[in-house]
């Protein structure tokens, strides 16, 4: 019995060792985003709270916590409160299978990539429930848009993942990273890498695809009616999802915890450092895109997803598998 409680304690400590860094890095990511946007737009960004304004996000969280949580009188109360919780829970439970290094992972399961795909596809429920439970027109339109958008881009994300899986021959995330020891998949599968990053932008509702919360036409989209900490939970979840999708990109295409070249001064640095650096670079691309591109129109978004990405990824799945089969490179 003692061994069971010991294992339980270890498990809980492991979970905290993932969740706490993720939540702290969400706060830092928000700060980073405001700094990057400030730099791109020739402003200073936050610079008052703490040294270089680094405590700005923590101050914002405290402000949100002290505000009153408003419940619209015509809303469905239970679902209205439940939706932001669900969104945050889903963005955190996905971290259960993310391997930071070859040994450091909470659950090393055989179908890790499918688990991640499933959890990220559940993410739309938080948005759609929030939009419906608010019982108001802008949140509702935002929810409808996001449901259609996220389903559309999941299709191409699925095909991109299938291409990587054909090259690996396993659904285990650690196997996926270890098969990239000599060459990262970003090089032979470059088009898929680009499509994956663009689809990740659409899946996390980031600009230029942030139509669910398009402030020019929908006030604030699905979280128009949310205030105080329930808004804060959506905000946290969005940024936690960004970090999650970046880590998934790193695992699938950028060789996880492996250094760029396997030579002396680089390969003694611990793998966790390389992992964090790569995630940071992908996150910077997310912010860079936000500062650079204007928002898509909804029909352009749908056209890109269904008429360009879907056929292209489908053809690449066939080409990749034919290539591997013809040259006898198929795993196993």
């Amino acid at each position: 019995m003692t061994s069971l409680s010991f294992e339980l304690t270890i498990g809980i400590l492991k979970i905290f060792s993932f969740v706490v860094p993720v939540l702290v890095s969400v706060a830092l990511l928000v700060y980073l985003e405001r700094k990057v946007l400030g730099a791109v737009q020739l402003r200073k960004g936050p610079n008052v709270v703490g040294p270089f304004g680094i405590l700005q996000s923590f101050a914002d969280v405290l402000k949100l916590l002290t505000k009153e949580n408003l419940l619209p009188s015509s809303s469905n109360k239970f679902l209205f409160i439940f939706a932001p919780m669900l969104t945050l829970i889903l963005s955190l439970i996905a971290w259960a299978v993310i391997p930071i290094s070859s040994t450091y992972v909470i659950a090393n399961i055989n179908i890790g990539i499918l688990y991640l795909f499933a959890v990220s596809s559940f993410g739309v429920y938080g948005v759609i429930i929030a939009g419906w439970a608010s019982n108001s027109k802008y949140p509702f339109l935002g929810a409808l848009r996001s449901a259609a958008q996220m389903i559309s881009y999941e299709v191409s994300i699925g095909f991109v993942i299938i291409t990587v899986l054909i090259c690996v021959g396993s659904l285990n995330l650690i196997d996926i990273v270890e098969s990239q020891k000599n060459m990262w998949f970003a090089i032979p599968l470059l088009p898929m890498f680009v499509i994956f990053i663009i689809s990740a932008l659409a899946e996390t509702n980031r600009l230029p695809f942030d139509l669910p919360e398009d402030e020019a036409t929908l006030v604030a989209g699905f979280f128009t009616e949310y205030s105080s900490i329930s808004f804060g939970l959506f905000f946290l979840a969005e940024y936690a999802n960004m970090i999650l999708m970046s880590s998934l990109t790193v695992i699938l295409f950028l060789g996880g915890w492996y250094p760029p070249i396997d030579i002396f001064p680089l390969n003694v640095i611990p793998g966790i450092f390389w992992f964090v650096i790569k995630v940071f670079l992908i996150l910077f691309v997310f912010l860079w895109v936000r500062a650079t591109f204007p928002r898509y129109r909804y029909d352009q978004l749908m056209r890109l997803g269904w008429k360009i990405f879907l056929p292209f990824t489908l053809i690449w799945v066939v080409i990749t598998s034919a290539f591997l089969f013809y040259f006898g490179l198929l795993p196993n």
């Binding site: 679902l79 399961i109 055989n110 179908i111 499918l114 688990y115 795909f117 499933a118 596809s121 559940f122 739309v124 429920y125 759609i128 429930i129 419906w132 509702f140 929810a143 409808l144 449901a147 259609a148 389903i151 999941e154 659904l171 029909d299 056209r303």
Partner: protein
Amino acid sequence: MFLVGSFFLFAAFLITTCIFVIFSKNPVNSVLFLVLAFLNSTFLFILIGAEFVGIILAIVYIGAVAILFLFVVMMLDIQITTLMFNIKRYIPLALLFAGIILAEIVYLTVFKTSKDNLDTFIRSKNNTEQIGDVLYTEYFIDFQLSGIVLLLAMIGAIVLTHVYRPTIKRQNIESQNSTTAEDRVKLLKIKSGEGIKDD
């Protein structure tokens, strides 16, 4: 002990959520309970060691099918009273389907396989690899046929809903993208007092 306990827990949840699916007054709540039912059946699949089937069930049914249900149901303006009134009409049909499914379950569990045979089949190899081994070899025809059935359903739905209306103005994306500034903007020098001559 743990396995049996969790089986009864998830099975009880599954049956409860299914009952709520039928008796919820609000159709949106029904769909959300349906999602919970799918989730519980995923857990049941994972309990018997069929993690691939379980997670595929979650991806396909929760991640796509139920969202589309929710999408449609949210936009309907259903009168709750009429819906409850009509339920009695469907009871004979529902009983018929329930009977067919029950007969299938009895046939598969009692007559088709013996229990320990199934157990060694599941434990012997990685669940995903096993499905991969037989899907494109032994069950190739069945797999392709089910794909064609789905394709037919999709084409049928598109044909039913996609009516060509000549009055609707459509965008031609290629012509939009290929326009240049010269097609749209013209620089003219206008003498004062003459205005623009339209030519």
